[in-house]
C-alpha cells in the first residue's frame, strides 16, 4: 500500500512490499516519454549505474541516454544461421552421398547435384535463425522471470501499460534513500515509493 505524501514530510515515503524486508529500490512515475528521457539523462549524468526505466512501449532515445550498448542479438542470429547451414548440408549430403548412397533419377548424390539440396538448407537456416532470435531476446532480456520486486508496487502493476517508471536500486554505490528521493522529486517524478522485497511467505 502506498499513499502519496508531501515532500516536506521528508523520508516517510510510501512503501511497497513489506517494511520488514530489505529495501530493493526507490521508484517514481513519470507522465510522458519526454520526462523519462530527461530523467534518465540526469541520472546518467549523476553517475547512477543501477537504475532501470520501465516504459509501455519503446521510447526512442532512452537507450542512448542510458548509454546502453547495442544489442548483441544480431551476432547470435548470424551464428545460428551459419551453424544451421552447416547442419543442413551435412544432414543432407553425408547420408545421401556416403552412408546410404542410392541411385535416384540418374542424378549424382554429391556436391555436383547441389541445387537439389538448397531448398532445405534455406528452410532450416531461416527456422534456426528465428528460434535463435526469439530465444536470444528472451534470455538477454532476463526472461522468463516470474517474480520481480517491482511487482510489489501495485501502482506500477496497474500503470505499467500507461505510464513510465524509473527505479533506482538500493545497491547502487551512490544510493542513499534521502538523496535518491530528493533527486526523483526534482526530476518531476510522481508517486515516489520505497520498494521493499516481499516476505518469502507472502505471495
Amino acid at each position: 500500500m502506498s499513499h502519496h505524501l508531501s515532500i516536506s514530510e521528508g523520508h516517510h515515503l510510501p512503501v511497497a512490499g513489506s517494511k520488514e524486508e530489505a529495501l530493493y529500490a526507490i521508484g517514481a512515475r513519470f507522465e510522458s516519454s519526454d520526462d523519462i528521457v530527461k530523467a534518465a539523462a540526469k541520472l546518467q549524468k549523476e553517475g547512477f549505474s543501477c537504475y532501470e526505466s520501465y516504459t509501455p512501449y519503446p521510447v526512442h532515445g532512452l537507450a542512448q541516454v542510458m548509454r546502453l550498448p547495442k544489442s548483441i542479438l544480431s551476432f547470435l542470429v548470424l551464428g545460428g544461421g551459419i551453424s544451421a547451414i552447416l547442419i543442413a548440408l551435412s544432414m543432407e549430403l553425408i547420408p545421401t552421398g556416403l552412408i546410404y548412397p542410392l541411385m535416384v533419377d540418374g542424378k549424382p548424390t554429391n556436391f555436383s547435384a547441389l541445387p537439389q539440396f538448397i531448398p532445405i538448407v534455406v528452410a532450416l537456416t531461416l527456422m534456426i535463425s528465428a528460434v535463435t532470435a526469439v530465444a536470444g531476446m528472451i534470455l538477454l532480456g532476463g526472461m522468463p522471470l516470474f517474480n520481480n520486486p517491482m511487482f510489489a508496487w501495485d501502482l506500477f502493476e496497474r500503470g505499467a501499460s500507461r505510464s513510465f517508471f524509473i527505479a533506482i536500486e538500493a545497491h547502487d554505490p551512490k544510493f542513499t534513500t534521502a538523496s535518491v528521493t530528493e533527486l526523483l522529486h526534482d526530476l518531476g517524478g510522481l508517486d515516489v515509493t520505497a520498494i521493499h522485497l516481499e516476505a518469502s511467505d507472502k505471495e
Binding site: 542410392l102 541411385m103 535416384v104 533419377d105 540418374g106 542424378k107 549424382p108 555436383s112 547435384a113
Partner: protein, 1028 residues
C-alpha cells in the same frame, strides 16, 4: 518385395563370409551353395539340361506306380501321386518351383501348357514350348483358368434334388443307369457332352455305344462350329478339316473370321501370321471383311465394314469376279448357285481384292468365320480352290471327328418322350440355349444329371448336380489343334470333390479308374511307344510324339459343294441384324466367374465387367442412341434389354453383343455383370440373326466401366505407323517422328550403371494383335488385385501392363478407321521422373537399369504416379486384397482377409501389396533374380559375369502368342533384345522428355494395296500430327 539373396562373384578371399568354407572359398562350399540353390528352375527351356523337373517327375511316377492298387477306394483320384508335399518329398525345395506339363481342353483343341507349382499348388500357367503346335504362348483364357481352380464359389457337393448326397449314392445311381442300359441297350439314355477333343472320352463313347447301341449321343457347344464342320465334311470328305498355313500366305482375305484371336482358332495362327508380318522380309497383306472391329480387323491393311449376314453376298460377288477373270466355270457355278440377300458392295474394293488374290495365286488364303452358314464356307473353299490355294497354303487334316446329334435333335427326342435319363456332362445348356426349346423340354425328363463347376442355371433344374473337377485336378487328355494328343494331369487333389466326365463315363462303361488308368488305356491305343517309359515321356513332355492328324492335299468335291450352296436359305434383308460375339472375357460364359478376366478389358471397346450392344456411329445417330442408353432388341418373338454402346468402325445395319454375360444366381462374381443375349439366338451354329427390331427405352443410362476413355491420339505421335513403301524409302521414319527435339543432354554427369546386365524390353506394334494374354499373364505372375467395376469406373484399375487401343483415321471419317493396340508398361526410364519426386526414396534405380519399388518403404504420396508420363504406376486406394470389393468403403467394418483358396493362387515370390502403397511393373524382377541366383550357382568360384544367364522370359513375353514382346540384356550385343533395338523401326515414346526409357517400340507397318479405294489413307495414323 521379396528379399532375394543373390550371390555375386566371390573374391578369392571375401571380406565377409558366413562360413569358414566360404572364407577359404573351398570347392565343397561352392558345391554346398549349388545344393542350396538348384540351378535353372527359372527356365522352362532349361528343363532338358538341368533335368530338374524331369528327374523329379520320373521319381514321382515311380512312387505313383509303386503305390497304385493299395486299395485306393473307387475310381478316385490318385492320392498317392499327390501327397508328396505333406510327406515333404526329398526332391522338392521349399520356395522353388516345379514344372509339370498339362493341357487346357477347349472346344477348339487342347492348349498345351506347362504348369508352375510351388509347394504342391499350381500357381502359374505357361504354354508348353516343346509341343509342335505351340510356341510356348497362351491366350488370356488359359492364363486365367488357374483362378477358376481356386474359385471359392465353385460347387462343392454332389446334390440330388438340391439335397447333398454322398459320393456312394452317385456311384449307385450310375450303377443303376448302367444296369438299366444293360437290359434295354441304352434305350432312353441320352448323354450330352461338349466338344472336348479327348481321345479317352472318344474311346469311352465308342465303348459305351458298343455296349448300349441305343444311347443317344448329343454334342453341343454354346458357340459351335457345326456349320463349318458340315461344309468341310461335305466338301473335303468326312472328318477332313482344312489347316491354314499363314506362314506361306502373301495375301489373306478374312470373311468375318477373327483368326488372329488365339481363343478363336488356337494359338498357331497368330504366330504364323506374325512371322510374315515383318516389313524387313516379304510382308503379307491382309484384307478383312467384317461387321465389328475384331483383332484381325485391327491388323487389316484394308477393312470393309459390312453386316455379318452380308458376308455370303460378298463372297458370292468376289467369287463371280474371280470366276470371270479366271474363266473358272466351277466357281462360276458355285457363285451363281448362291442366292443371298442380294446386297451389293463397292466394285472397286472387290476387284482390288480379287486382283491381289489372283496375283498371289497359290499363295493366298481366304478364310471365313466358322459360324457363317455352310453355304458360305463351301463357297469360300471354292474360291480358294479357284485361286489354287488348296494344297499350297491350305491342306487338310484327316481327323476322326464324327458328327453327333445336336441339341435340337435332343429336344425333339425329349418331346417325343424317348429320353428317360439325361446326363449333361459339362456346358450349361439351359443358359446358353435359352433361345431354343431345350430348357422347357428338359423338365419332362424323369432323370437328369448335370456335371458342372457351378450350381448353375442347368444344375438348378436337373435332379442331380455333380461338381466338375477342374482340369488341373483331374486326369485326362486332349487333342490340340493339329491333333497331337496332350496329357492332362492333376497338379493337386480336387479341392472340392470335383469329378471329371471321364470318371462318369468310365463308371457307366463299367471301367474301374485308378487315377490315370483310363487315360493310360487310351494312350496304349494310339501311342507308338506304349511302354511305361513312353507313358512317362507322354506325361513329362505333355504330349505324345507323332500323334498329329495325318495331313493330305485337299480334294474339293464340287458335286457336294454345289447343292450345299444352293440349299442356303436367303437371309431376309432387314434393317438390323445382331451378331453374337465370343466374349473376350467370359468366352461363351464359362469364364464369367473369373474376376481376372472380367477385369481384363475387351479388345476393342475396353469395357470391363460388362458387355454391350455395339452400334455403328451412324446407326447410333439415326436412333438417337448414346453410350449407356438402354435398348430393347427383339427378334423371333424373343427380346432382350441391353445397354448400347457406340462402336467406331462397326458396320451399319448391324448390332454386336458378346455372349456369356448376364448370368444370375450362379456365383456372386457373375452377379450384375452385363446382359444375357443368348435368348435372341435360335441355335448355336450361326453368329448372326437378322430381323432385329431396336427400341430405345426411356430408362436411366447404364454406367459402363472402361479402362480407356479417350480413343484419339490428339495428334501426338504415341503409337507410330507407316506404310511399307514409306518404310522402305525412309527406314528411320518412326524415330524421325520425334521431330526437332533438344539434344538429349543432362546438366548432371549421370552415374554409370555398372552391372553387366542391363535389362531392356521391346514391343513390336506391327505384330501385337492386342489379345490381352500379356495382361492376364502379368496379373497371375505379379499377384495383381482385382478392384471391381466401380473402382475401374473411378479410374483405379491395377493392371501393370495395359493395352492402349488407338483409333485413327487420316481423313477423320468413320470409313477409313484404323486400330492400333499398344502395350504400355513401366518404361524403366534410366532417368526416371518418378524417382526424383519420391520423398521417402521408395522408388530407386538398380544397377541393372531397373526402376525399383520398395513397397515397405512406400508411404503413398502418389507423387511418383503424378509425375509418370505414361501413367503406368498403380496405387492401392483400398485394401483390395483383404476386403470384399463391394465393401471397400466400409473400412475396418468390412470383413478382413481373402478366401483361403485364393491365397493359394498367389505367386510366393511376389509381395501381396497392402493398402496405401504404389506398385508397378519391374520386368518380373523375381524371375530376373531367380536367373541370377542360378547363374551365380553355375559360376561357382569362377567369374559370374562370364557365365551365361539361364534363358528366361518375363510373364508378358512368355504369354505373347505373336512373340511381339522381346526382353533381355541390352549389354549383350548377341541378345534378341539388342537385335530388336537395332531394327530401324525402333522408337522411344515421349522421347523428347529425355527420360531414356528401357522400353522401346517397333513402329507398325501397313501394307496397303495402291489399287484399293482409300489406299492413300492407310497407315497414316500420324499424318498431320504435330512433332513431339
Amino acid at each position: 518385395m521379396k528379399k532375394i539373396f543373390q550371390h555375386p562373384a566371390r573374391d578369392a578371399k571375401p571380406t565377409l563370409w558366413r562360413t569358414q568354407g566360404e572364407r577359404e572359398n573351398t570347392p565343397e562350399f561352392a558345391e554346398s551353395l549349388a545344393r542350396e540353390f538348384t540351378a535353372g528352375a527359372t527356365a522352362l527351356q532349361e528343363q532338358d539340361d538341368n533335368g530338374l523337373s524331369r528327374r523329379n517327375f520320373v521319381r514321382l511316377m515311380g512312387a505313383a506306380t509303386a503305390l497304385t492298387g493299395l486299395g485306393l477306394t473307387g475310381c478316385r483320384r490318385p492320392e498317392a501321386h499327390l501327397v508328396p508335399f505333406t510327406k515333404n518329398a526329398e526332391w522338392t525345395i521349399p520356395g522353388k518351383f516345379l514344372y509339370y506339363a498339362s493341357a487346357l481342353p477347349t472346344p477348339v483343341g487342347a492348349v498345351p501348357l506347362t504348369i508352375t507349382t510351388s509347394d504342391g499348388r499350381p500357381t502359374k500357367i505357361e504354354g508348353n514350348p516343346l509341343h509342335p503346335a505351340s510356341n510356348g504362348a497362351t491366350d488370356a483364357f488359359a492364363q486365367a483358368s488357374i483362378l477358376d481352380l481356386y474359385d471359392p464359389n465353385r460347387s462343392k457337393e454332389i446334390t440330388y434334388n438340391s439335397a447333398t448326397v454322398s459320393r456312394a449314392e452317385l456311384d449307385a445311381f450310375l450303377e443303376k443307369v448302367r444296369a438299366a442300359a444293360g437290359t434295354n441297350g441304352g434305350e432312353g439314355l441320352a448323354i450330352l457332352i461338349g466338344k472336348e477333343n479327348s481321345p479317352t472320352v472318344e474311346r469311352l463313347r465308342e465303348k459305351l455305344t458298343k455296349q448300349f447301341p441305343k444311347i443317344l449321343w448329343v454334342q453341343d457347344e454354346a458357340i459351335s462350329s457345326k456349320e463349318s464342320d458340315e461344309a468341310f465334311d461335305a466338301v473335303f470328305g468326312e472328318g477332313n478339316r482344312p489347316v491354314y498355313d499363314f506362314e506361306k500366305a502373301d495375301v489373306i482375305l478374312s470373311l468375318g473370321s477373327d483368326f488372329l484371336n488365339p481363343s478363336e482358332t488356337g494359338l498357331g495362327f497368330a504366330k504364323g501370321f506374325a512371322k510374315r508380318r515383318n516389313p524387313e522380309g516379304k510382308m503379307n497383306r491382309l484384307y478383312v471383311v467384317e461387321n465389328h472391329f475384331s483383332l484381325t480387323g485391327g491388323m487389316a491393311d484394308h477393312r470393309l465394314r459390312i453386316p455379318a449376314s452380308g458376308i455370303g453376298d460378298f463372297t458370292a460377288a468376289l467369287a463371280k469376279v474371280i470366276a470371270d477373270k479366271t474363266g473358272d466355270t466351277d466357281l462360276a457355278a458355285l457363285a451363281s448357285g448362291y442366292k443371298g440377300g442380294g446386297r451389293t458392295f463397292s466394285d472397286a474394293w472387290i476387284k482390288g481384292v480379287a486382283d491381289d488374290l489372283l496375283a498371289a495365286k497359290g499363295n493366298g488364303i481366304v478364310i471365313a468365320d466358322a459360324q457363317q452358314p455352310a453355304a458360305v464356307q463351301a463357297l469360300t473353299l471354292g474360291v480358294n480352290k479357284a485361286l489354287g490355294n488348296l494344297g499350297s497354303t491350305i491342306s487338310v487334316a484327316q481327323t476322326a471327328i464324327k458328327p453327333l446329334s445336336t441339341l435340337s435333335d435332343l429336344s425333339k427326342a425329349i418331346q417325343a418322350g424317348s429320353v428317360k435319363t439325361l446326363l449333361i456332362l459339362g456346358g450349361d445348356p439351359v443358359y446358353s440355349a435359352s433361345g431354343t426349346e431345350f430348357p422347357n423340354s428338359l423338365a419332362s425328363v424323369p432323370e437328369t444329371l448335370h456335371l458342372s463347376p457351378f450350381v448353375d442355371e442347368t444344375s438348378k433344374v436337373t435332379h442331380w448336380h455333380v461338381p466338375a473337377a477342374h482340369y488341373l485336378e483331374s486326369w485326362g487328355d486332349g487333342r490340340s489343334v493339329d491333333g497331337t494328343v496332350c496329357s492332362v494331369q492333376p497338379m493337386i487333389l480336387p479341392l472340392w470333390n470335383g469329378i471329371s466326365s471321364i470318371e462318369i463315363l468310365a463308371a457307366l462303361a463299367g471301367e474301374k479308374v485308378d487315377g490315370p488308368s483310363a487315360v493310360r488305356v487310351t494312350f496304349n491305343t494310339y501311342s507308338k511307344d506304349a511302354s511305361d517309359a513312353g507313358w512317362q515321356g507322354f506325361l513329362r513332355n505333355g504330349f505324345a510324339q507323332d500323334t498329329a492328324w495325318p495331313r493330305s492335299i485337299p480334294v474339293f468335291n464340287q458335286a457336294a459343294a454345289l447343292p450345299l450352296i444352293q440349299s442356303a436359305e436367303t437371309a431376309a434383308a432387314s434393317d438390323f441384324e445382331i451378331t453374337f460375339l465370343r466374349s473376350t472375357s467370359a468366352d461363351d460364359g464359362r469364364y464369367a466367374g473369373n474376376s481376372w478376366l472380367q477385369e481384363t478389358p475387351d479388345f476393342v471397346t475396353k469395357l470391363v465387367w460388362d458387355n454391350a450392344a455395339l452400334f455403328s456411329p451412324a446407326d447410333a445417330k439415326k436412333l438417337g442412341i448414346q453410350d449407356g442408353d438402354m435398348v430393347k432388341l427383339t427378334t423371333g418373338g424373343k427380346s432382350v434389354e441391353i445397354a448400347a454402346m457406340v462402336a467406331p468402325g462397326h458396320a451399319d445395319g448391324s448390332i454386336s453383343a458378346a455372349l456369356g454375360y448376364g448370368r444370375r444366381g450362379v456365383s456372386h462374381v457373375m452377379e450384375n455383370v452385363g446382359f444375357d443375349v443368348y435368348p435372341l439366338r435360335e441355335n448355336s451354329k450361326l453368329c448372326y440373326r437378322t430381323g432385329v427390331k431396336v427400341e430405345k427405352l426411356a430408362k436411366p443410362a447404364y454406367v459402363f466401366a472402361t479402362t480407356q476413355e479417350h480413343q484419339n491420339m490428339e495428334g501426338r505421335n504415341i503409337a507410330r505407323e507407316g506404310t511399307l513403301d514409306q518404310f522402305q524409302k525412309q527406314p528411320e521414319f518412326a524415330s524421325e517422328m520425334d521431330g526437332e527435339i533438344a539434344p538429349p543432354i543432362s546438366i548432371y554427369p549421370n552415374p554409370p550403371l555398372t552391372s553387366d546386365l542391363q535389362w531392356g524390353l521391346s514391343m513390336d506394334l506391327n505384330t501385337c494383335i492386342g489379345c490381352n494374354a500379356c495382361i492376364v499373364a502379368c496379373q497371375a505372375e505379379n499377384n495383381i488385385p482385382v478392384v471391381g467395376k466401380d473402382q475401374v469406373r473411378r479410374g483405379r484399375d491395377m493392371a501393370w501392363i495395359r493395352i492402349d487401343r488407338w483409333f485413327s483415321s487420316a481423313d477423320h471419317s468413320e470409313e477409313n478407321l484404323e486400330m492400333i493396340p499398344m502395350g504400355v508398361m513401366c518404361q524403366q526410364c534410366e532417368s526416371a521422373p518418378c524417382e526424383a519426386v519420391c520423398p521417402a526414396n521408395a522408388t530407386v534405380h538398380s544397377e541393372e537399369g531397373l526402376n525399383l519399388m520398395a513397397y515397405n518403404r512406400c508411404i503413398g504420396t502418389r507423387y511418383c504416379a503424378n509425375n509418370c508420363p505414361w501413367k503406368v504406376r498403380r496405387f492401392n486406394w483400398f485394401d483390395f486384397n483383404e476386403r470384399p470389393l463391394d465393401e471397400l468403403y466400409y473400412g475396418p467394418l468390412a470383413p478382413k482377409g481373402m478366401a483361403d483358396s485364393l491365397k493359394m493362387v498367389k505367386n510366393p515370390n511376389v509381395t501381396v501389396r497392402m493398402r496405401g502403397v504404389m506398385e508397378k511393373c519391374t520386368f518380373c524382377i523375381q524371375r530376373i533374380e531367380e536367373a541370377k541366383i542360378a547363374r551365380a550357382v553355375k559360376a561357382g568360384a569362377s567369374d559370374v559375369t562370364k557365365t551365361p544367364l539361364p534363358v528366361f522370359k518375363t510373364a508378358c513375353q512368355q504369354a505373347c502368342p505373336s512373340e511381339s514382346i522381346v526382353f533381355g540384356n541390352i549389354n549383350d550385343p548377341e541378345s534378341a533384345i539388342s537385335k530388336s533395338r537395332s531394327i530401324s523401326r525402333t522408337y522411344t515414346s515421349l522421347n523428347y522428355l529425355n527420360t531414356r526409357p528401357r522400353v522401346t517400340y517397333l513402329a507398325r507397318i501397313r501394307n496397303p494395296n495402291p489399287a484399293m479405294p482409300g489406299a492413300d489413307l492407310v497407315g497414316a495414323a500420324n499424318r498431320g500430327s504435330e512433332h513431339a
